[in-house]
């Protein structure tokens, strides 16, 4: 699998993402793509990692969404390419219109740096086929603007078409306000595009690929992707 990681000024999670991808590929390192690049090398996966692109000025991800490279990323997605956006990468994907909705300031106004639980809503997608049904994941949150918002019509469409990827939950999978850390509508932590190939999520599953980090709950996502894209 040939993966590329887009780096914007202020991106700071590209190396963690590279480690997670290298784990899954058995050592094949992803290429780093600078935000000013206008053409992409041949790739199977593009990742927009976390960080504070352009200092989060105006709105998180707003400036990055206008970067020269994003035109190529949009074309790649339109032609059926796989694009993964994590945290700031999710914000960039919504700002670029590649995923619906927007990420608002956390309802509690505080930056969240903590572990949390997630439900895997479906285990039949390219990203989640290695998770068993009903799996609860441990994942790290590190964001100030992760409060997912979309209008009711969009939310109903996402639910109806099975495009909700992950939800925040309690340790036993309880999806409720008490276990919704940032006020996200319907506890949504991640969503897919209509073709299921673009995934945006706030939690950092790339932090969960090495036992030294406490658990390896993120590994199946990267393993499943590599299997799918190496075929």
């Amino acid at each position: 699998m040939r993966a590329g990681i887009v780096v914007f000024p202020g991106t700071n999670r590209e190396r963690d993402m590279a480690i997670a991808l290298s784990h899954a590929t058995g050592g094949v390192a992803p290429v780093m793509i600078w935000h000013k690049d206008v053409s992409l090398p041949p790739l199977d996966l593009i990742v927009l990692p976390g960080g504070f692109s352009h200092g989060d000025y105006l709105r998180c991800g707003a400036m990055a969404a206008q970067s020269p490279v994003m035109r190529a990323v949009a074309e790649f997605a339109a032609s059926g390419g796989f694009v993964l956006g994590v945290c700031n990468g999710f914000q960039v994907l919504t700002e670029a219109g590649l995923l619906p909705g927007a990420l608002l300031r956390n309802a509690g106004l505080r930056f969240l740096a903590q572990d949390h639980h997630l439900t895997v809503e479906r285990n039949d997608t390219a990203y989640t086929s290695d998770y068993e049904a009903g799996r609860i994941l441990s994942a790290t949150l590190a964001h100030g603007d992760g409060n997912y918002f979309a209008d009711e019509e969009t939310l109903d469409r996402l639910e109806g078409e099975g495009l909700v990827a992950f939800r925040y939950c309690g340790p036993d999978g309880e999806v409720c306000d008490a276990y919704n850390p940032n006020g996200s509508q319907r506890s949504i932590a991640g969503i897919y595009s209509e073709n299921g190939r673009v995934l945006g999520l706030m939690p950092h599953l790339e932090d969960h690929v090495d036992p030294l980090m406490g658990d390896v709950d993120g590994r199946p996502m990267f393993d499943a992707l590599v299997q799918r894209l190496s075929a």
């Binding site: 309802a107 409060n147 918002f149």
Partner: protein, 79 residues
Amino acid sequence: MKAIVTVMLKPGVLDPQGRAIGHALEGLGFAGVGEVRAGKIIELDLAETDAVAAKTAAEDMARRLLANTVIESFKVEVV
């Protein structure tokens, strides 16, 4: 010309910052303050000298970058 773009969260979109400001005002003893909404103002110095054209240009900028119309509304004033 100068265009002043005011960007506000749409009604119905939670504004925790506005709410926090409201609580703080209450704490200071200001009575009778209802809902507080916080937004931002962006001033643009434009080379355009025609007010209508300047407004159209600023509105285009607001739609494409300055506001995220999924969550925000905007208003342009040319002065």
